[in-house]
């Protein structure tokens, strides 16, 4: 349902970008934006400014249409020539980019670099959306998206109150780190931890900050009732039954009851207008209707 509504919105906004609606003709961003942040790229599509985009980074794969754009590589291993060959009006980043000398090279041939802080809370993510609206000359679209987002978020959070008195299941969110071929537990701080808490759960590895590298013993000791795995790691196994074969998982309550769920990385690793829907989805897993 949410996807459908979103697609209609995108179509409308896309029509706006194509010039059917007035305004937004002169954006500070220019018409050839290379953006190497997945959150910002998603937001650019949200406000219908995607016609400004000419290239993305390797990890920006949402929404699916963005894959049509060429990739300038991994955002921490960029190459100057690849970016410059797109003749960008600006290189847009969230600050998590490298290597540093490449950024200097990009600047040296006159390509401006704009860095926007990533949204690490719903509020700062919404501020980022509004900032992008101003930047792309799509103020009204950004305000509409944020207003709806705030409303949906408030309603979703209000709905979560009914789980207040309920038992709080222990939840382990597992993200697969492709670099080291290792499974990481998303612990305290960050969107996944917040979403689990709002949904009335307890983060099973909430003692440390950031991401914890999981060992079979940590998984067993965390004793999660529910496991939520991001898409790439889950798809390596393909089903809850097979995911259970990961060392340590079979020993947990979640493994025994097969309470293992798949979620898109983009739904739980950063805040977007899809967060309220993701929150409802997670809450549904945590408090199944009997």
């Amino acid at each position: 349902m949410t996807l459908c509504r979103r697609d209609v919105g995108l179509l409308l906004l896309g029509a706006g970008a194509a010039g059917l609606l007035p305004g937004g003709a002169r954006a500070a961003a220019g018409n050839r934006v290379v953006c190497v942040s997945k959150q910002i790229n998603e937001f650019i599509f949200d406000i219908g400014a995607q016609s400004h985009l000419v290239a993305r980074d390797l990890t920006s794969i949402q929404p699916p249409q963005i894959r049509r754009l060429p990739s300038v590589g991994y955002h921490r291993a960029l190459s100057a020539e690849g970016i410059i060959s797109m003749r960008p009006s600006v290189l847009l980043t969230d600050g998590n980019v490298g290597p540093e000398p490449v950024l200097a090279q990009v600047r040296s041939v006159g390509v401006p670099i704009e860095t926007m802080e990533p949204g690490t809370t719903p509020e700062s993510a919404q501020a980022l959306m509004l900032r992008l609206g101003r930047y792309f000359g799509r103020d009204a679209a950004a305000r509409t998206v944020v207003t709806r987002w705030r409303g949906e978020m408030a309603r979703a959070l209000a709905d979560m109150r009914r789980f207040a008195g309920k038992p709080r299941p222990r939840v382990l969110v597992i993200h697969f780190g492709q670099l080291n071929n290792s499974y990481l537990g998303l612990s305290r701080g960050g969107p996944a931890d917040a979403i689990v808490a709002w949904a009335g759960g307890v983060n099973a590895v909430g003692q440390v900050g950031g991401m914890a590298r999981l060992t079979p013993e940590i998984i067993a000791a965390a004793a999660p009732d529910i496991i939520i795995a991001t898409d790439v790691g889950y798809d390596r196994y393909g089903s809850a039954e097979r995911f259970r074969s990961l060392p340590g998982i079979a020993l947990t309550p979640a493994g025994k009851s097969l309470a293992i769920h798949r979620i898109f990385e983009s739904e739980i690793m950063y805040f977007t207008p899809r967060t309220p829907a993701a929150l409802r989805k997670v809450a549904g897993w945590l408090h199944p209707a009997r």
């Binding site: 291993a77 190459s79 020539e81 041939v109 670099l179």
Partner: protein
């Protein structure tokens, strides 16, 4: 090739390098037709009037040209160093990384990548140069440690040097492994990419530095061909021929450490080239060091240019780390030459 005189073969190899350099100058995310490359050269020398393609010219002069030069210098460094080390250790499986240089450099770079340039008082003012500076310091320190340990067993004991190299490499790799384990995800990724080697960060100061160190060292090393040939007989026999093997080995190792540390500091760890290039040269023509040394430098540079062209084209406009491709195309190329050589011996 066997029938040709050395000088002819050298000329052929030089011509091949020239072609590879031209190909590398023309291709990449930007394609510069050869005529445009010539015009840029003319403009820079003031021979041709300024055109309208200033943007392209900037990209060519500030990014492409230093990169192609750094790439060639690095390839030449690794090829020469491989030939030199295999000669000094009289062992065909030795490569530049064996004396601890690459792993020490990787450890130095990892420290900066994980803790940031501000981690140490020395690197703080260096900014973006902190990674190469620490890599150089790490490479140098690890290699010195290898020689120091080996000298406990007697100065020219090559076996002790090899074993000390293995031990120091293991220790450095453990350090890098530990750092990437405790690193946050993005930092760990930076370490991985640094360890795969890349020319993306090439700039004029770095390229000039590598050239300033490598070219004088190259000239000195090339004059030692005859002495290295004598050393192949064994250190005692070399001494009978009037050489001072201890001094020779020490001097050449110092030069080798210097060129490999500087190149590795700039581009990261590039494996395999130093190992296979000298073998290619031996199989092509001769293992006489008077031929082996210059030919290894030439083939190393040519191979590296071609690898970098591939790295820039395969997933255009993004790039692959060159270290992946050196092993990918280096291994089959090496096997092909090996088989060719076998067949020739049989037939």
């Amino acid at each position: 090739m066997r029938g040709l005189a050395w000088s002819r073969v050298q000329l052929l190899l030089a011509a091949a390098l020239l072609l590879a350099v031209l190909a590398a100058l023309c291709t990449g995310a930007f394609f510069f037709p050869p005529a445009q490359v010539l015009r840029f050269a003319g403009q820079s020398l003031g021979l041709v009037a300024e055109g309208e393609d200033t943007f392209e010219r900037n990209v060519f002069l500030m990014l492409r040209l230093p990169r192609v030069l750094l790439c060639g210098l690095t390839g030449a460094t690794l090829g020469l160093s491989g030939a030199l080390m295999q000669g000094l250790f009289r062992n065909p499986i030795v490569e530049p990384g064996l004396a601890g240089t690459s792993s020490g450099a990787a450890l130095g770079a990892s420290i900066v990548l994980v803790f940031g340039g501000e981690a140490t008082a020395i690197t703080a003012p260096l900014g973006a140069a902190a990674v190469p500076a620490m890599a150089f310091a790490g490479g140098l320190a690890a290699t010195m440690l290898v020689y120091r340990i080996a000298s406990v067993f007697g100065k020219t004991d090559v076996l002790a040097l090899l074993l000390a190299g293995i031990a120091v490499n293991a220790a450095c790799n453990a350090g890098t492994g530990f750092l990437s384990y405790i690193a946050r995800d993005p930092q760990a990724r930076s370490i991985t990419f640094w360890n795969l080697g890349t020319f993306t960060t090439a700039n004029w100061p770095g390229t000039a530095l590598v050239a300033a160190i490598f070219l004088p060292c190259l000239l000195i090393v090339l004059r030692q061909g005859k002495a290295l040939n004598a050393l192949m007989l064994g250190e005692d026999d070399a001494a009978y021929l009037g050489l001072d093997p201890d001094r020779l080995v020490f001097r050449l190792l110092v030069l080798n450490t210097l060129i490999v540390s500087v190149a590795t500091a700039m581009v990261g760890v590039i494996a395999f080239v130093g190992l296979i290039v000298p073998h290619m040269v031996r199989l092509l023509r001769s293992s006489d060091h008077r031929f082996l040394l210059p030919a290894s430098a030439l083939i190393g540079a040519t191979l590296m240019e071609l690898v970098d062209v591939l790295a820039r084209l395969v997933i255009r406009p993004a790039e692959l780390p060159v270290g992946i491709i050196t092993a990918l195309i280096g291994a089959p190329l090496f096997l092909y030459i090996l088989l060719l050589h076998r067949r020739r011996l049989a037939g």
